[in-house]
C-alpha cells in the first residue's frame, strides 16, 4: 500500500476538524482548488447554540496564498447588500486589503475560520436577533476602501492616499529620517513608516487598482463641483 503524503492544506484541514467537525473537503481538479463544505454551528461566548449555516469555501491553489471565497448556502442571511452578502450567497468577510495582508503575514485555514469566518456568522446572528451588528462595518464598494485608508492607514483624504500610493509605485526611496509625506512635520519613522510598509506589502496590483479608483473619485468630485 502506498501512502500519499498529506498536502499542507490537508494537514491544516485535519487540524481544524476538531473545531469544525461537520465540514468536509474535496478536490476540484478542474479549477485547481479545494472545496470545503458542510455545516458551521455557531455558539455564543457562553457556549449556547444559536444556529447552523450551510457553507461552501473555495480554497484556490496554491495554498495558503489566495484568500478563500466563502458562500452561505442555507439562505439564513437576507440576500441584500446591507447584509454584506451577494445574491449568490458569497460573503464579504472583510475589506480585501485586510484579508490579503493576513494571508501574506501567515494566516492559514485555522486563523481564517476562527478570526474571519466564525465572527462573520456570529455577527450576522447578532444582527438577526435585532441587535444590529456587534461592531463596525465598512462602507460598500470604493467608499469602503477609502474608509480603510482613512481608519486603518491614517490617510484621511484621497489626495494623501494617492500621494502615498504613488510614492510606492514610483519606487521612491524614502529616508526614515526625512519629513513624512503626509506633511505633519514629523520624521517618517515616527509617522507613516508602518503605513508605507503595509502599502508595499499590499502589492502593485492592489495599489494600481486603488490608485485608479482614487483618481476617478477625484475627477467625479471635481465634476460635481
Amino acid at each position: 500500500m502506498i501512502f500519499k503524503k498529506p498536502t499542507l492544506f490537508e494537514k491544516d484541514f485535519a487540524a481544524i476538524s476538531d473545531l469544525y467537525p461537520k465540514l468536509r473537503y474535496s478536490r476540484d481538479e478542474k479549477h485547481k482548488s479545494w472545496v470545503i463544505s458542510g455545516e458551521l454551528d455557531i455558539c455564543d461566548a457562553t457556549g449556547l447554540y444559536w444556529d447552523t449555516f450551510q457553507v461552501l469555501i473555495i480554497v484556490r491553489h496554491p495554498y495558503p496564498v489566495h484568500v478563500p471565497n466563502i458562500f452561505e448556502r442555507s439562505t439564513i442571511i437576507p440576500r441584500t447588500e446591507a447584509w454584506h452578502i451577494s445574491e449568490y450567497g458569497e460573503c464579504c468577510l472583510d475589506i480585501p486589503h485586510n484579508l490579503k495582508l493576513a494571508f501574506k503575514r501567515g494566516m492559514r485555514l485555522a486563523g481564517f475560520m476562527h478570526e474571519k469566518v466564525y465572527p462573520y456568522f456570529a455577527n450576522q446572528l447578532h444582527r438577526l436577533s435585532r441587535q444590529g451588528y456587534a461592531g463596525e462595518e465598512y462602507d460598500h464598494r470604493f467608499e469602503g476602501v477609502m474608509q480603510y485608508y482613512k481608519e486603518e492607514l491614517n490617510l484621511p483624504t484621497p489626495i494623501l492616499a494617492t500621494q502615498f500610493i504613488k510614492s510606492i509605485l514610483d519606487k521612491k526611496i524614502i529616508d526614515r529620517n526625512s519629513a513624512c509625506l503626509c506633511g505633519s512635520g514629523r520624521k517618517t519613522k515616527k509617522c507613516h513608516l508602518a503605513v508605507l510598509h503595509t502599502l508595499t506589502e499590499l502589492g502593485e496590483k492592489v495599489l494600481r487598482h486603488d490608485l485608479v479608483n482614487f483618481e476617478q473619485w477625484e475627477v467625479s468630485l471635481a465634476g460635481n463641483n
Partner: protein, 334 residues
Amino acid sequence: MNIYEDYLQPIRKAIAADGQTRTYSEFAGGNVRNKINLRALNEAMPEKRLLPSLEQFADAVGLKPDFTQKLGSHPDFAHLKHTEDTEEHYIVSMFVDVRRSTQLYGRYEPATVFVINNAIQRAAIHTALIFGGYIHRLQGDGLFAYFGGKNMSIKDAVNRALQFASVYSYFVKHDLKEVFEQQGIEQIYTRIGVDLGYDEDVVWAMAGIGEISEVTTFSLHTNLASKMQANAVSNGIVIGDHIKKEAALLQEFFTPVCLRTGKETDRYIFEIPKKGFRYTQHDFDWLKFLKKQDYIATDFSGNIQLKRKQAPAVYANSNNLAPIAVKSKPYYDF
C-alpha cells in the same frame, strides 16, 4: 453541554453534607447508616422522569424514554421465563464499568456513596432509556445493557448503542470528573465494551432455576463485550468487528486496538485458529462521533454543546454573541 447538571446537584449536596452533621438533611434522617431517606432522593431524582436538563437533551435528540421497562427483562424475550423455549435473535450487548469508584468509600460515609452511586446510575439508566436500551443488570455503579430487539433494525440498534455509550462517556469524563476533582478525588472513569451478535450467534433462554433465574443471552459476543470493556483505555470504548461492519458510515471512528497498544496480539479479541476465525476489536473515537451528531454543536472553543430545538431567543442572550461577533467588520463589493 450541561445535560446532566440536575443529576450532579444531589451529588454535590451529599458531598457537602458528608461528615459534617452526620445527618443528611437532604437525603437521610437521623442515623445515616440505618435511615437513608430514599424518598428525599427520589424527590431530587425521580426514578421515572427525566430531570429537566436531560429532558432537553431527549427533546433535542427527538427520542422519548420508556419507563415501563423492568430490570433484567427484555420485553421481546420475557415470555421465555419459566419455559424450556429458546430463540435466536440478534442483540447488541454493552458493558459499562465505572472505574475507581471504590475510592469513594474511603472518603465518604456509605450514605453519601449511596447518593453518588444512585445519581450516576440514574443518569446512566435514563440515558440508556432515551436511546431505547434495556438495562439487564446493574453492577455497582456500572451496568450491562442490551440494545435492539424485534422491532428495531440491527443498524439502528448499533447506532443507538454507540450514541448512548458516547453520551455517557462524555458525562463521566467531563461532568463527573469536574465534581470529583473539586473534592481532590482521583479521576473516576468509564470503560465500555460493545459487541453485536447476529441471529445465528445469539440464543435467548432462561438461565438459572425457578425464581433464581433470568432470561438472558448465550452468545460469544455478549462475553466478548465484557472482555473488550476490560481492554478499553480510561473513558474509552472498544467495539467488536460486527459493530464496525454494521456502521458503514462510521468507519473513520474505528481503529484496531493493536494500533494503540503497538502489539499485534491485541488485534483480535478472540481466535479459533483451526476454523480460521479471528475477531477484531476496535477503539471507538466517541468524541469525534459525538461531534458529528445532528443534536450536537461544537462551540468556539471546541467544546460540545446541545443543539436545542427551541429558538435561541428563548434561552440565550444575544449580548453573549457580541464578544465573538465584534471581531467581524464586513464589507461589500460585488
